[in-house]
């Protein structure tokens, strides 16, 4: 028997867990200002997470999906994308969204159970959060199809959790993207867990990256806690897609340092020593260590940064808390461009029965 197909899955890491370069760094990493911007965004996400969890715990926010531990993946992807690309997020990739112009206030508004949070003032074509797991992947393939038909040099980026890759919709989207060489990048965020189910229970494959191979899509892994590595592989994948060479599957290896959401208690199912070990690899200290080693960072700058982030978050929370609350009639709005007349009657009825205050 002869071998007719073979594959290999590469792994990229440009900064190790101690913040030491593993080799020569890409051009963007020579720009201290750019690296500082990325570091700033990671710190902002970490601090925002703590604030949002606190708001939820004190009854000022609904269920919230934290991003702690995954900031490097989210920021690296965001920094590699161009504004004209389109993002198809899941629900916790705030670093990418913020980089692209979604606001902290919009994020809070969404998790407060208010649709206006998804009407992004910034990236008007980006899709909102996608709760039904996996269903966003075909949307990204579809957007990429539109770019392809129109000959636009743009890319669609779909996030998906490693758990989400078990859904048929993921395979269907990858298959289409491969068959039509669509300008799509599928970013699998392997954070170890799908709520209580470990990554090892989702698949018998050695990597999630290789899930692209059967669809004709090259796959690779990256250390998802290394923001420089993530941005580098993402830039390469986007360049490939823009050049008409087709899609890529990137598996970012990171870890969900938080509970799944504020409605979850990970201590029920997750070994404490695994969590403790993951904290040793977390993304923030390694970029900070690298910046400090290059003479671009110190404690004073760290303090200034944290104070600035705290102020930005406070302002966003104030904006969120003082926003107008949706009126009862809001649920009847934006269902159709031309609403059927019958809805007006129901809307009138609904306004006669305002909900009890809570």
């Amino acid at each position: 028997m002869k071998t007719v197909a073979q594959f290999a899955i590469g792994y990229e890491q440009l900064l190790d867990a101690g913040g030491r370069p593993t080799g020569e760094l890409p051009a963007f990493a020579q720009d201290a200002g750019e690296l500082t911007r990325m570091y700033r965004m990671m710190v902002l996400c970490r601090m925002f997470d703590a604030k949002a969890i606190n708001l939820q715990r004190t009854g000022q926010l609904g269920t919230y999906a934290p991003c702690t531990g995954q900031e490097a993946t989210h920021v690296g992807v965001g920094a590699a994308m161009r504004p004209e690309d389109v993002l198809f997020p899941v629900y916790r990739e705030y670093g990418t969204q913020l980089w692209r112009g979604v606001t902290l206030t919009e994020i809070l508004t969404y998790w407060a159970g208010d649709e206006t949070g998804t009407n992004f003032a910034g990236p008007r074509q980006d899709f909102p959060w996608c709760v039904p797991i996996g269903s966003q992947a075909p949307h990204a393939a579809g957007a990429a199809m539109a770019f392809r038909i129109r000959g636009e040099p743009r890319c669609a980026v779909a996030y998906i959790g490693e758990g989400g890759t078990s859904q048929g919709a993921f395979y269907e989207a990858v298959n289409l993207a491969g068959a039509r060489r669509l300008p799509t990048v599928f970013v699998i965020v392997n954070n170890g867990w799908a709520i209580s189910v470990p990554a090892s229970a989702q698949t018998g494959a050695e990597t999630f990256a290789q899930k692209g191979i059967a669809g004709g899509v090259p796959g690779m892994q990256v250390d998802g806690n290394d923001v420089i590595g993530v941005r580098a592989v993402m830039e390469a994948a986007l360049a490939r897609a823009r050049a008409g060479e087709g899609p890529t599957v990137i598996e970012a290896l990171t870890y969900r340092l938080s509970d799944h959401t504020t409605a979850d208690d990970a201590s029920r199912y997750r070994p404490a020593d695994e969590l403790a070990a993951a904290w040793q690899r977390e993304p923030l200290p390694r970029l900070r260590a690298y910046l400090a080693a290059q003479g671009h960072w110190d404690d004073t700058r760290e303090q200034q940064l944290r104070a600035a982030c705290a102020a930005e978050i406070d302002a966003a929370v104030k904006g969120y808390q003082s926003r107008p609350r949706p009126a009862v009639g809001a649920m009847f709005e934006h269902l159709f461009a031309h609403p059927p007349a019958a809805l007006a009657e129901q809307r009138e009825q609904a306004t006669r029965y305002p909900p009890p205050a809570h």
């Binding site: 269920t63 407060a112 649709e115 048929g168 209580s196 229970a201 019958a342 809570h358």
Partner: protein, 325 residues
């Protein structure tokens, strides 16, 4: 006898079924170590092992599809869909295969599967976690659809559903999971399927409802009683088939019918009930039938869910309208 919540009664029934019948297997997402996001399967994997209480890969189409293969081999599968809004990929398998396997094979292959899922809103959950989609199942021949509203009904009907030789969609009112406790005797006795239950007897108006809306309907009946208006409250319980006789008997007595459901009004189950009453009991009616339902909108994010879910005042006003004539 223990006083248990609705979700605890489901746990008791699942435990009983696993203990009684080695062919019973539970599958779903996060049902193992985590015991389900609502804890309905708490402790069961520890007791019955990782094959009989299994976390599947994250795929609802798979959950429904594999249930069919397992069931056709004689296993009794009880599958959990984590939230109703996530069942759509499963609907293909349920409608095209699960509901029809017996019919297509002239009884050669069958599907004794129970698919459990939370039903309805009111728990401040994110998008897609609060839907009331019962009609999507009721429309398919070959499926039973059950929605209990009390711990005792949940226990007895879940056991009945598991022992039934055909597929049963088992809807669990999320809002009621922990709302009240009731004495439940864990004796393994099933309750009959296909029957409605009268929750409160009355003479003036019949209220037909199910799931979490039984709560608001009973509250409305209580308020109306203070005004000397007597409501009979029927918990439909079996959404497919509908126990029309129970409703018709009641309407023959009261002459007035108000149907209350959380699901959207358009093509909701209320329309089916009203049509049957119009066909078979029009001359018993003293007033037009009223429907109090969710609106024909998307289930709003939770900021407005209380404005969407019918409240007691809407039900009271509907009852009063039927008494104006």
């Amino acid at each position: 006898m223990a006083r248990v919540t609705l979700v605890e009664s489901i746990n008791l029934a699942l435990n009983r079924a696993l203990a009684d019948d080695p062919d019973v297997v539970l599958i779903g997402e996060d049902i193992g170590v985590n015991g389900g996001v609502f804890r309905a399967t708490q402790g069961l994997q520890q007791r019955y092992g990782e094959w009989r209480v299994q976390d599947t890969p994250l795929a609802e189409g798979l959950i429904a599809g594999m249930s069919i293969g397992m069931a056709a081999q004689g296993l009794r599968v009880v599958a959990e869909i984590q939230f109703m809004g996530f069942m759509y990929p499963a609907l293909d398998q349920i409608a095209n295969h699960m509901a029809r396997l017996r019919n297509r094979t002239r009884g050669r292959l069958t599907c004794p599967v129970v698919i459990r899922m939370p039903h309805g809103g009111g728990i401040h959950a994110p998008e897609h976690h609060s839907e009331s989609l019962e009609v999507l199942f009721c429309h398919h021949a070959g499926l039973r659809v059950v929605c209990p509203s009390t711990p005792a009904a949940a226990y007895g009907l879940l056991l009945a559903a598991i022992r039934d030789p055909d597929p049963v969609i088992f809807l669990e009112p999320t809002r009621l999971y922990r709302m009240a406790r009731q004495e439940v005797l864990d004796n393994g006795n099933a309750l009959p399927l296909d029957r409605a239950q009268i929750l409160r007897e009355g003479d003036d108006v019949t209220l037909v409802t199910w799931g979490a809306m039984t709560h608001e309907s009973l509250q409305a009946a209580q308020q109306l009683a203070q005004r000397k208006i007597s409501c009979e409250v029927i918990d439909l319980t079996s959404l497919s088939p509908i126990d029309h006789d129970c409703i018709l008997d009641s309407v023959a007595h009261t002459g007035r019918l108000v149907i209350v459901h959380e699901a959207a009004r358009n093509a909701g189950l209320g329309a089916e009930i009203a049509a049957t009453v119009a066909e078979r009991a029009l001359y018993d009616l003293l007033a037009p039938v009223e429907r109090v339902t969710g609106y024909d909108t998307v289930m709003p994010y939770f900021g407005l869910e209380k404005a969407y879910i019918p409240g007691v005042d809407r039900i009271v006003d509907a009852v009063l309208r039927t008494l104006e004539t």
